[in-house]
Structure formats: structure tokens, C-alpha cells
């Protein structure tokens, strides 16, 4: 056996004691200044204890086993050797535990920990076994020399190397998650400590021993740990960071909860608002008192505004709560543009702002993206521009550029420039913050939640874009963004902007008034109401109008009179427009062989124009007829010499935005009075038309039922076609749509559709009678005669049987009926009790009241 040469026992004692003192100092330091809450610190303290104990063992080993000065018993020598091994296993094991503390979320910790523990236990078992075994086979001599080499390798190297290797693996796998300070420190300390351990182990073989490293390696390592990561300062810092992190997390959670709450509350708020608006709609439909109607209208206005605000909040809180998703679909950008232009035109016109459009003609038309959100974003920007611009213009531009990285992606470049009030530079950040509105005082008359821009920004962010703003205070602002969209089809958008500008210009041009008193036109339509509307629409032009209610009647007139233009309805019973036109052209000796003929049609589908022109018409007008289009038609086809400037500017008397009191009962009903007045030209005329509609309901309904029952598709379709036009003229748009559907079904002889929809449709049709009776029927008397005992008894009986049958409708009818009577004094309280039970819809309570007497 090779002994430690030239080393005095005293040297071991002094080195060992010195190392021990260092250890104790470190232990005291960690106890006195440590931050006990941090688990790593407790582990570190244990580590210092283990290293200290290791030092003592190593010292004892060197003194009693290696030195010749003492005649140490064999049992103690073996024990010392095995203890050195065992404590090194413990040290490396505990080191690995300590290092584990540096990493969070170790993936396989649940599996590794028991394995490591089992390994440590096995080392203890093995040590005990080896000790007993060696004592039993001991036959004298140096006992430690007899210990087989494999025991030294297994206990002295394999176990230690296993834990060292485990720590290295931890570093390789999770090292990146460490801060550089913790990383470098632990790496350095680990290396030094392990160096100490390895030298210590080498020492047990008696090779390459270095007394300095032997005693101080582990201690120095621990000091490096202490200075690097275990100092109270650093631990306090870590703890502050952890606390901040937790605080942020709980703030986030609270914010999230708030958004959730807001989203839910908005819903809760919306429900009653809707009920208020719904009930109010019923008041508008059913009340007859003008004051009440005015009140109800105010409720409607305020309610709609409120609903708009709530919707904004709901949208915003949904974004906040992460409930809005971007749902990409294939879409046609021209539809988006068209919707946007229509929406913004109305608003801009109302404020007298000029709109300029600039849409890149070569832009691909079919894209893939979230159409709804794209539209919402641009709508928000455009409405904002209009909201904050008092005069001047709004410039709306959509262009595109190819995305560099993907040949099938493009960037949509949207810009909106206004000449509005602009934004001060210091206010710009406010623009994007929630709930803040710029220059609150100055803009207090502008409605809004202050969420619009925030919603816009969030939506753009969700779609991977960002809103940019340039603004000069008092001059105007430009909002623009670039949004990546996938191209579905590279077909070009085309000259969309011109088409739109043209349309808008046309609109303006024909608003200029003209008269043509010498011109004479003929209108042929089987629907008398259409004829009346037509007359009303061009009344101001003073054109002379002849009318005919059938093709045959029209032909009679064309044989006699020379007309400048003939308007022929397409769909007429017996002889339709096309047939009438053919016969007209055959009147070779008549005065109208070359007169331009315009087709009137409700089937304005695309390509209609071509098909009518190929049938011999000059052009067509779609119904309900727009007065602007009709006047444009007159200018185009009337001989120029008959068109004159109006003699004097007539003030336009009828403002279609004002709904007269007598039509108030229709507000909020399925009849859109404003649209009706607009399509019939003026108010007086609208009322006439409406009255005709009202008075003919019974006859026409009977007729329709008759054709329906006879399955006479042809006549049914023609009648329903006429009804469709009438419906659209009076502003009953939804009803008109339903008629259109029935007309289509009738033409296709789709009996299934007709039989399932006709009854409901007729119900709605006849329903108009009740609705319109509010306008046209005689006023009811306010106070009726007092109900006699007999009447009351009869009424009570009826109420009883209705309540027993739980028939709400019948009860309501009876109570309505009784409003025509005055309730006798003696019955008043009983009646009131019944009414109150009825209000609660408590049938049992109604019966109870009746039973009481």
C-alpha cells in the first residue's frame, strides 16, 4: 500500500480544522443572514453541514488510517474508508438535490427522485454489507488493502459519477432557463466542489492526492455558491421578482375577471334594453295618443343609441376576455368596398362632406381573411373620420402590394384621410387607450364610448397588423394600416372606383330639376297603385301622363296618340309587356312605331338590361321606381327641345324624414313609412297609396286564396307580383320579400313551398288590415257605457272559462272588449283584482277572485 508520503498528521489536522472553520462560518452566515423562506437556502445550509461532516471524516481518515503514528484497530480503519465513500455519495447526492432547486418545472422529477433515493439507500446497504463481509473474512494485515477493487470503484466512483452525471444532464437540458448569474456561479462552484470530491476519492487510492484541494475544494465551491446565488441580497431580489410576478399575475386575473364580468353584464344589460325597445315598438304600433307616441319615439331614439354603446362595450370586453376569434373565409373585396361605400356615403352626405375614393384596379378581387372584422375595422375608421370632420372631404383608399415571402399573399393597404379636427401630438397616445376620448370637452357632443379605436386596434393586432396615424391638429388626420391577406383568385378588381364615383355623380346630376310640360308619356301597368306612384314621381316635371291598366288598353291609346316615351310593365295578366311591345311595333300605321319603350320590372337581376334590350326595349327601370332614375330616364329619352329649366325654384315641401302624426301608429311596424314616402314621392300621395292598399286587402286576399285553392299558378303569380310592388311602395319591405319568394315559387310551380308559405303570408297580409286600421279607421269613443249586471255576469263567466282553459288570448280579448265599457262602481274592486291577477298572468288567482263572491 502506498502511504501519503511526507505529510505530517499535524498538517492534516490544521488543514482539516481550517476547512471546518470556514464551513462553520458559512453555516453561521447562512443562519444569521439567510432568507429562511427560500427553500434553496435551507438546502444550502444542509449542504454546508454535509461538507463539514465530510471534512471531519476525511481528516479522521487521514489521521487514523493513513498515519503510522496511531495503531488503529482494523475495524475502525475499514469503517473510516467506507465512511469516506459513503459521505461522498451523500455529498454528490445532496449536491444534485441542491442543483435541482435551480431549475423549475423539471419534467421527469417524479420518476428520477425515487430512483435517486433508491440509489442512495442501496449505497448504504452495500456499505454495511461490505463492512460485515470484510470483518468476517478478515485474517490480519491491513484490512483496507483487502477490500476488493470493485468495491472501491462502485462505492467510490460509480455512485458519485452517477449523481455528477445527473447534474450535468440537468445543466445541458435546462441550463438555458437559468439567469447568467445563477448559471455561471453554479457551474463554477459545481466544478470546484466536484474537483474536491474527486481528489478526495483519488486520495483513498493514495494517488494524485492534493491536500489543499482535498480539504478545501468543497468548501471553496460552497463559498462561490454563497457569494453568487445564496447571499441575502440576491435572494431578496429574487423574492421581489417572484412577488412582482405573482402580483402581475393576480392583476391580470382580476382584469380578466373584470372583462368577463363586463361581457356578461353587457349581455345582461342588453336583454332588458331590448325588452324596453321591444315593448316600445308595441307602443308605437298600437298606441293612438300623439303625446304617447312622441314619448315612445324618444324612447326609441335613446334606446337605440344606448344599444349601440352597449354593443361597443360588449365587443371590447369580448376582445379583452379573449372571446373574439378571427375567422378567415374566402371573400370578394368588391362586396366589402361596396358595403363600406354605401354605409359611409349616407353618413357623409348627411354632414355634407365630399367623399373621394381610390381603389387600385389591379387589386386581386377574391381574398381569404376575416371579412367581417376587416369590414368592422374599416367601418370604425371611416365613421370616426366622418364623426370628427365638420367640413371638407374624406379620402378613402385601398391599394395592395405583394407580400415578399409568399407569392400567394398580398398586403391590403387601407388609408383614410380626413380634413377633420385632427389630433394634438400629445393626445395621440390617448387615441389608442381604452375609454379615453380626446379633448373630452370639445367633443362632448360626439357620441361614443371611446372604445372604437381601441377595438379597431385590437382587431388589427389579432389579424397581425397595426394601425398607424399621422395627424396635424386642426388640419386633419390620416389613418392607415397594412393587412396581410391570402389571395384566392388573382382576378382583378377592375375600375370599381369609377363605377362608384359615376353612380354618385349621376345621382347628383339628376337631382337638378327640369320640367317638360309638352312631353307626353304612356304608362301601362296592371297595378293601379303603380300607376299612381308613377304619376306622383314625375308630377314635378309637369310631363303629361296617360295610363292604361292592361296591354290591350295601352295598345288602344298608342293607336291614337303620339307619345314621347312608353313605360310598359313586364308582368301583366293576359298580355305581358313583351307581347304588348311586339304588337305595338306591329301597329305599322300608328304614331308610335319608333317611340322608345322602357320596361318596368321588379326582377332587376344582373343581365336583365341586356335581355330587355334584346326583346326590343330601350332600357328598363326596376321597381319600386326611384325618382332619380326615372328623371334620368326622362332626360335621356325625351326630345331635348321639350326639356326646360324650371320656371321658379320650387321648394321641396315634403321632407321624407318627418313622419306625420297620423302615420305614427305605423312607426316601428313592418311598414317602413320613411321608405314608403320616399318611394312614392310625397307624403300626400303616400297616404293615398296606403289607403288603396288598406282598402283592397279583403278583395285581393280573397282573390289570392281563390287562385291558390284552384292551383292556378299563372294568375296567382301575376296577382302576387302586383302585390309585391304595392308592398314595396308602401314600405312593407319584408312583406314584399315574402311576396317575391312566393312569386318565384309560383313561377316555378313549386307547390310545396306555396302550400307551406301561403297561409302564413296571407295571415301577414290580412294582418295589415288591423295595423292600417289604426291610421284609417274611425276613432273609437273614449268612455263607453256602464256595463250592466247582466253584461258583467256574462263577462265573469267568460273570464272563468278562459282562466280555466289557461287561454291567454281569450282573456286578453275579453279585457279589451271591456275597455269599451265603464265598470260599475260596485264591481270596481273585484275587477281590479282580476286585472292585477291577469297582469301577473296568474290564472289561479283570477279564478280565486271569481270564487270569492
Amino acid at each position: 500500500m502506498v502511504r501519503v508520503i511526507g505529510q505530517d498528521t499535524m498538517l492534516h489536522i490544521s488543514f482539516g480544522m481550517a476547512a471546518l472553520v470556514f464551513n462553520i462560518v458559512l453555516y453561521i452566515l447562512t443562519c444569521a443572514l439567510g432568507t429562511d423562506q427560500v427553500h434553496k437556502n435551507l438546502k444550502f445550509r444542509t449542504l454546508t453541514v454535509i461538507v463539514g461532516v465530510g471534512n471531519i471524516i476525511s481528516m479522521l481518515d487521514n489521521i487514523f488510517r493513513h498515519s503510522d503514528r496511531f495503531d488503529t484497530p482494523a475495524a475502525i480503519e475499514l469503517l473510516l474508508l467506507l465512511m469516506v465513500f459513503l459521505f461522498n455519495v451523500f455529498l454528490t447526492y445532496y449536491m444534485s438535490l441542491y442543483m435541482e432547486g435551480f431549475f423549475e418545472n423539471l419534467k421527469y422529477k417524479k420518476v428520477i427522485t425515487p430512483i435517486n433515493q433508491a440509489i442512495v439507500i442501496s449505497s448504504v446497504v452495500l456499505t454495511v454489507a461490505v463492512y460485515i463481509w470484510q470483518i468476517m473474512i478478515y485474517k490480519g494485515g491491513n484490512i483496507t488493502d483487502n477490500v476488493p477493487i470493485w468495491v472501491r470503484i462502485v462505492l467510490g466512483y460509480i455512485y458519485e459519477l452517477y449523481f455528477l452525471f445527473y447534474v450535468v444532464i440537468l445543466f445541458v437540458k435546462y441550463g438555458k432557463t437559468l439567469s447568467s448569474r445563477a448559471g455561471f456561479t453554479s457551474l463554477a462552484a459545481f466544478a470546484v466542489t466536484i474537483g474536491g470530491v474527486l481528489f478526495e476519492l483519488l486520495n483513498t487510492f493514495g494517488v494524485g492526492s492534493n491536500i489543499l484541494f482535498n480539504y478545501f475544494g468543497a468548501v471553496i465551491g460552497l463559498y462561490i455558491f454563497y457569494i453568487g446565488v445564496e447571499t441575502p441580497d440576491y435572494q431578496n431580489l429574487l423574492q421581489s421578482i417572484t412577488e412582482l410576478d405573482e402580483a402581475r399575475q393576480s392583476a391580470d386575473e382580476a382584469n380578466h375577471a373584470k372583462s368577463d364580468f363586463l361581457a356578461n353584464m353587457s349581455h345582461e344589460i342588453r336583454t332588458p334594453i331590448n325588452a324596453v325597445l321591444g315593448m316600445n315598438e308595441m307602443i308605437l304600433r298600437e298606441a293612438e295618443d300623439d303625446t304617447i307616441l312622441t314619448y315612445a319615439e324618444n324612447i326609441e331614439n335613446a334606446g337605440s343609441t344606448l344599444l349601440g354603446l352597449i354593443n361597443d362595450i360588449l365587443d371590447f370586453s369580448k376582445i379583452e376576455a379573449g372571446k373574439i376569434e378571427i375567422i378567415p373565409v374566402d371573400y370578394d373585396i368588391s362586396n366589402v368596398i361596396s358595403d363600406l361605400v354605401n354605409m359611409i356615403s349616407t353618413r357623409a352626405d348627411e354632414k355634407g362632406l365630399l367623399l373621394e375614393f381610390d381603389f387600385d384596379q389591379t387589386m386581386p378581387r377574391y381574398l381569404h381573411g376575416d371579412e367581417v372584422r376587416v369590414k368592422q375595422v374599416i367601418t370604425n375608421i371611416l365613421t370616426n373620420a366622418v364623426k370628427y370632420t365638420e367640413k371638407g372631404n374624406i379620402y378613402f383608399c385601398i391599394a395592395y402590394e405583394r407580400a415578399g415571402d409568399d407569392p400567394n399573399d398580398v398586403y391590403l393597404k387601407v388609408a383614410v384621410k380626413d380634413t377633420g379636427i385632427g389630433i394634438k401630438e400629445e393626445d395621440l397616445p390617448k387615441l389608442f387607450s381604452e375609454f379615453e376620448r380626446i379633448e373630452e370637452k370639445r367633443n362632448r357632443n360626439i357620441e361614443g364610448t371611446g372604445l372604437g379605436m381601441s377595438i379597431t386596434m385590437s382587431l388589427l393586432r389579432m389579424m397581425g397588423s397595426a394601425l398607424e396615424v399621422e395627424s396635424t391638429y386642426g388640419v386633419g388626420s390620416t389613418f392607415h394600416f397594412k393587412l396581410k391577406q391570402e389571395v384566392v383568385n388573382w382576378e382583378e378588381l377592375g375600375d370599381y372606383e369609377n363605377a362608384i364615383n359615376e353612380r354618385r355623380k349621376d345621382h347628383k346630376k339628376y337631382r337638378e330639376k327640369f320640367i317638360a310640360p309638352e312631353a307626353r308619356v304612356l304608362v301601362v301597368d296592371d297595378n293601379r297603385m303603380n300607376l299612381m306612384v308613377f304619376g306622383s314621381l314625375i308630377k314635378q316635371t309637369m310631363v303629361q301622363i296617360d295610363t292604361a291598366e292592361s296591354g290591350a288598353a295601352g295598345l288602344e291609346l298608342t293607336g291614337k296618340n303620339k307619345y314621347d316615351i312608353i313605360f310598359l310593365d313586364h308582368m301583366m295578366p293576359e298580355m305581358d309587356g313583351i307581347e304588348t311591345l311586339r304588337r305595338l311595333r306591329n301597329q305599322t300605321d300608328g304614331p308610335n312605331t319608333t317611340t322608345p319603350v322602357i320596361c318596368l320590372t321588379a326582377n332587376a337581376i344582373s343581365g336583365a338590361r341586356e335581355s330587355y334590350i334584346s326583346s326590343g326595349f330601350e332600357d328598363y327601370l326596376s321597381k319600386p321606381i326611384d325618382s332619380g332614375e326615372l328623371e334620368a330616364m326622362l332626360i335621356d329619352f325625351l326630345p331635348e327641345d321639350k326639356i326646360r329649366e324650371p320656371l321658379e325654384k320650387k321648394t321641396v315641401s315634403s321632407d321624407s324624414n318627418i313622419v306625420p302624426e297620423e302615420l305614427m301608429p305605423l312607426m316601428g311596424s313592418s311598414i317602413d313609412v320613411k321608405a314608403g314616402i320616399k318611394s312614392s314621392g310625397d307624403l300626400e300621395f303616400y297616404k293615398t297609396v296606403l289607403k288603396v292598399f288598406y282598402e283592397t286587402i279583403d278583395d285581393k286576399a280573397r282573390e289570392l286564396d281563390h287562385f291558390f285553392e284552384e292551383k292556378d299558378f299563372k294568375n296567382y303569380t301575376i296577382r302576387i307580383h302586383a302585390l309585391k310592388s304595392s308592398a314595396r311602395i308602401i314600405g312593407a319591405m319584408a312583406f314584399g320579400e315574402a311576396a317575391q319568394e312566393l312569386e318565384n315559387a309560383g313561377r316555378a310551380e313549386d307547390w310545396d313551398y306555396l302550400s307551406s308559405h301561403h297561409p302564413g303570408f296571407m295571415g301577414a297580409y290580412r294582418g295589415f288590415k288591423e295595423l292600417l286600421s289604426l291610421v284609417f279607421a274611425e276613432q273609437k269613443t273614449d268612455v263607453g257605457p256602464e256595463a250592466s249586471d247582466k253584461v258583467m255576469a256574462g263577462i265573469y263567466d267568460r273570464i272563468r272559462s278562459a282562466a280555466e282553459a289557461m287561454d291567454y288570448g281569450e282573456l286578453e280579448d275579453i279585457i279589451d272588449e271591456m275597455s269599451g265599457y265603464t265598470i260599475p262602481e260596485g264591481e270596481r274592486s273585484k275587477w281590479d283584482s282580476i286585472m292585477s291577477a291577469f297582469d301577473r298572468i296568474d290564472y289561479d288567482a283570477v279564478l280565486e277572485v271569481l270564487d270569492q263572491t
Partner: protein
């Protein structure tokens, strides 16, 4: 007797709030024969009183009601041989995903939020009653 005795389809509105029930009835009464019950108990009593040939075609059932809420009433309706085939549409004031999930597990005809406008409501009912 204005809205009985003809061939209108019949709808039963079950809602504990008489005002809301009245509103729904007012919305649909032109097209449907509409009755009202303000509790599940009342609804079931009513359904037993209605003659078989004038049976209810659709039930609009409020989710949030005291005593027996919508889902509970729904289960009662499904257990009763007389009512188990009548389609039920839930009315809900608070359409959270959790609630909708809970409702739809019961496999009703559908649900509609209380924020629905008259047109939406009518359209929805018309679709179910085709």
C-alpha cells in the same frame, strides 16, 4: 276569440317574467296562436288541458326561472308521454358558452337569446315550424 279556432300553429311561451312573455306574444301573435305560462308547473298543467287536436306545436322555454328552471322543466316535459314530442326552444338572457353547452346537452330544438328582435324571433320560429 280572435286568435283561436283557426289553423294557426300554436306556440306556448314559458317565462316567469309576464312582461317579457307578453312581449314575445305580441311579437308573434299575428302569425301564431300564442299562449303563456309563467312557470313550468303552469306549462305542464296547460299542456294537459289542451285538446289533442289543438296541440302545441312549439314551446319557447325560459332558461332562468325560479323553482324549476328551464333545463328542469325540459326534463319534466321529456318524461311526460303527452309532452315528450313537442319541440322546445330555449330562451336565454345570458348566453354564456357554459350555459349554452349545458342546454344543448339536453338536445332541445335549439335556443334563442332574449336579445332577439321581433324579426329574428319570427324567423327563428318559422324555421322550426316548417
Amino acid at each position: 276569440m280572435s286568435d283561436s279556432g283557426n289553423n294557426k300553429k300554436r306556440v306556448l311561451i314559458v317565462d316567469d317574467d309576464p312582461a317579457y312573455a307578453r312581449m314575445v306574444r305580441a311579437f308573434i301573435k299575428d302569425i301564431y296562436r300564442a299562449d303563456i305560462a309563467i312557470s313550468g308547473e303552469q306549462a305542464i298543467t296547460f299542456l294537459h288541458k289542451v285538446p289533442a287536436d289543438e296541440g302545441v306545436d312549439l314551446i319557447l322555454l325560459d332558461c332562468e326561472m325560479p323553482v324549476a328552471d328551464g333545463p328542469a322543466v325540459f326534463k319534466m316535459l321529456r318524461e311526460d308521454p303527452l309532452t315528450k314530442r313537442i319541440p322546445v326552444v330555449f330562451l336565454t338572457g345570458n348566453a354564456t358558452p357554459a350555459l349554452i353547452g349545458r342546454i344543448m346537452e339536453l338536445e332541445p330544438e335549439g335556443y334563442i337569446t332574449k336579445t332577439a328582435t321581433r324579426e329574428e324571433l319570427l324567423g327563428y320560429i318559422a324555421e322550426r315550424l316548417l
